[in-house]
């Protein structure tokens, strides 16, 4: 038995099994809610209401989802190459520098539809460069990319604190943040999109980078499944040995994949900075880079799955904030637990239910096979 588990049918592998894992994760989260003396069902109702019950609820949910689509894609692209990029947090944080350069430098001069593409390029480039060193070290020197990207998260945080406290701080203020960008550094909201379905977004910061995130998801799908490069990336992830025999340059693929991954994380900075706050603040990433891990695992590294998982986590973030008003014992940190449980059950324990599910499905198939002739016999009488 060289392969640990037999193969499941595709619908069970990509639909049923992730769903079971997700349900178990939420069930355990429900136990935690009960432990602090609240009703999990009430909490779930409040959460869904808070996230989808109003126009600005939806606006916030999709705003958070935008962040998670970018970071989820970042993790997923690396996963396809067999790499685990934990550095999304740092790559997004440092990507904020690219947005800052464009927003501060050109925000007063150019309109948003010129600064936006420039900011996309700048943030992506900075994020990609931040991923380049770990990638190069992995490819050339064999230093494990997980460890180096963790270290780079901390280094990125130190650099950003240093710059925001020292150089980028607006003159005459104490807060470690840049000045507010000019009009050209502010992205238009998507209120019109929500008003199409009869919702009023009010002050929710949903903006055009949500559409960029969807485009990025589509492009990642094209890249991974419809291009030669994507094929090489997947080959490398599936079997580095086979890739080597096929003449695929290991160094080249690892570096390119990690830079794409870093660029996607870097672009996440557009959403909170240009889309919502219009300035660079301390710790604006706020853990979105790590949520990306859960999102990518839940979405099974497929862009469509990632968009759905990101919206689910957006719902958790927005709904979680709403719950805190009614249930003071449950704060945003509940989401961190759910995130951890999703990573545990959908990631590390993804095989736990596989043998059981396989047995159940096989028994089901057998009884079906046995019962079919019986029915035929009955019909023949």
């Amino acid at each position: 038995m060289s392969q640990p588990f037999a193969k499941l049918p595709a619908w069970a592998d990509y639909g049923l099994l992730p769903l079971i894992n997700l349900i178990v994760a939420f069930f355990v989260a429900g136990l935690v809610v009960m432990l602090v003396g609240e009703s999990p069902i009430d909490a779930a109702v409040l959460m869904v209401k808070g996230a989808f019950g109003s126009g600005d609820g939806v606006g916030y949910t999709l705003y958070y989802a935008t962040n998670f689509i970018f970071t989820g894609l970042c993790v997923a692209v690396a996963f396809h190459c067999g790499l685990f990029n934990i550095g999304g947090e740092g790559q997004a944080y440092i990507g904020g520098l690219g947005v800052a350069v464009v927003g501060l430098g050109l925000g007063n001069v150019l309109p948003w539809w010129i600064t936006f593409p420039l900011a996309i390029i700048a943030s992506g480039l900075v994020g990609a460069l931040w991923a380049l060193i770990p990638a190069w070290l992995q490819a050339k020197r064999g230093s494990h990319v997980v460890i180096t990207t963790i270290m780079f998260n901390f280094i990125a945080a130190s650099i950003m604190v240093y710059l925001l406290v020292g150089y980028l701080k607006a003159s005459g203020t104490q807060a470690p943040e840049t000045r507010v960008f000019g009009d050209g550094g502010q992205l238009p909201g998507l209120g019109w999109l929500l008003s199409l379905i009869g919702l009023n977004m009010r002050s929710a910061p949903l903006n055009i980078s949500f559409l960029l995130a969807l485009v990025a998801a589509f492009l990642v799908w094209v890249l991974i499944w419809r291009t030669k490069l994507g094929y090489e990336i997947r080959t490398m992830g599936y079997s580095p040995k086979a890739a080597r025999y096929a003449g695929i340059g290991e160094v080249r693929i690892i570096v390119i994949t990690m830079m794409i991954s870093g660029a996607l994380a870097g672009m996440m900075a557009l959403n909170p900075i240009m889309g919502a706050q219009h300035r660079v603040q301390l710790d604006f990433v706020a853990g979105a880079g790590f949520v990306g891990i859960a999102v990518a695992l839940m979405g099974r590294s497929h862009p469509a799955g990632i968009v759905l998982a990101a919206i689910l986590f957006g719902m958790l973030y927005q709904g979680g904030a709403e719950i805190a008003f009614d249930m003071p014992n449950i704060s945003r940190d509940m989401i961190v637990i759910i995130q951890g449980l999703v990573i545990l059950f959908a990631g590390a324990l993804e095989h736990m239910f596989r043998p059981t599910l396989l047995r159940v499905l096989q028994r089901f198939a057998r009884t079906k096979r046995q019962s079919t002739p019986a029915v035929a016999a009955e019909g023949g009488q």
Binding site: F152, D333, L349
Partner: protein, 323 residues
């Protein structure tokens, strides 16, 4: 204040700051030497610190806190083992999950139980590990230099500090001089050979994970009931990752781990000391640089520019028995 006193104070805080790193680093050593990568040191330490703070608050005893910390941390270690040994899940994913679960649960439970924004109530001295004076402080105090070094630097720490430093030779002895240690190292390098010898790979790895949880629990208890007086939200603040860096820096060897932790603790102590004090010639060194230095040093090491850090060969790979 003369410079001798300053040096002494910096070294003293070096010891205090390096103890949680050292305990977590040795914890990681047991686990990773057995082939189980552990990113979850941070989470186990954090959960341990919370358990210690909560249990010490309720019972009024630091030892009850220590026990609770160890139990919780070992339980999380077993979750990691269950995922990565029994179910052959990805060890890194499992470790990341444990970090998040610990970060969230400590705050939620802390808020629900104590209503102080995720922290546990401040502990009285009776419920903490207090500094103990080693014998002979009084007699040696008269001698100029040695007396000061002995009373300031060597004596006057809590019992957990001495425990941490005693664990270094103990770990060395376990790893290199016992049958268990030999098998532990073997299972991290070549589990198939261990299996062929008729020794259970999962059970051996589970024991390594339990050792790891035990030490992380002690590290957590040190943070909450010896260094601090109660648990504070996100108390570990990346110490688990620095410990991981120290482990790589030490190339997975116990004595080197101690020196790596002392070095990183020293950097931390210097960073605190130097805030607002410009250095001669260089000028003021930014605190952020000092804080990032352990990570930068580890990356330089990992890159192979100052010797090469080679992890245990079977690290991160689940063992599948040949049939």
């Amino acid at each position: 204040m003369d410079s001798f006193t300053v040096v002494l104070q910096v070294l003293d805080s070096t010891i205090r700051l390096s103890v949680p790193l050292l305990l977590a680093c040795l914890a990681g050593l047991y686990s990773e030497r057995a082939g189980i990568f552990d990113i979850g040191l941070e989470g186990k330490m954090l959960a341990g610190a919370f358990a210690a703070g909560a249990a010490a608050t309720y019972s009024g005893s630091a030892y009850a806190g220590l026990l609770a910390a160890v139990v919780v941390s070992v339980a999380l270690g077993l979750v990691h083992g269950f995922a990565s040994i029994t179910h052959r899940g990805n060890q890194i994913v499992s470790g990341v999950a444990i970090n998040f679960i610990a970060a969230g649960t400590t705050v939620i439970l802390g808020q629900a139980w104590f209503q102080q924004g995720g922290r546990t109530p401040s502990l009285p001295n009776a419920a903490r590990f207090n500094p103990i004076d080693l014998p002979g402080v009084e007699t040696l105090n008269g001698i100029p230099v040695i007396g000061a070094i002995y009373s300031e630097l060597i004596s006057g720490h809590s019992v957990l500090v001495y425990l941490a430093f005693l664990l270094v030779p103990f770990t060395w002895w376990v790893l290199y001089r016992t049958r268990f240690g030999l098998r532990l190292r073997a299972v991290g390098e070549n589990p198939a050979a261990v299996d062929t010898a008729g020794i259970s790979v999962p059970w051996l790895r589970y024991r390594a994970v339990i050792c790891c949880g035990l030490l992380c629990g002690i590290a957590g208890a040190y943070l909450a009931t010896a260094q601090g007086a109660g648990f504070v939200k996100d108390m570990t603040a990346g110490k688990g990752y620095i410990a991981l860096a120290a482990l790589i820096f030490a190339k997975w060897r116990p004595v080197h781990a101690m020196f790596a932790c002392l070095l990183f603790g020293f950097l931390d102590a210097i960073a605190i000391r130097m805030q607002g004090h410009p250095l001669p010639l260089i000028g003021e060194v930014p605190v952020q640089l000092m804080q990032a230095l352990p990570y930068i040093l580890t990356i330089v090491l990992l890159a192979g520019f100052i010797g090469k850090a080679i992890p245990p060969k079977a690290g991160g790979v689940a063992y599948v028995k040949e049939r």
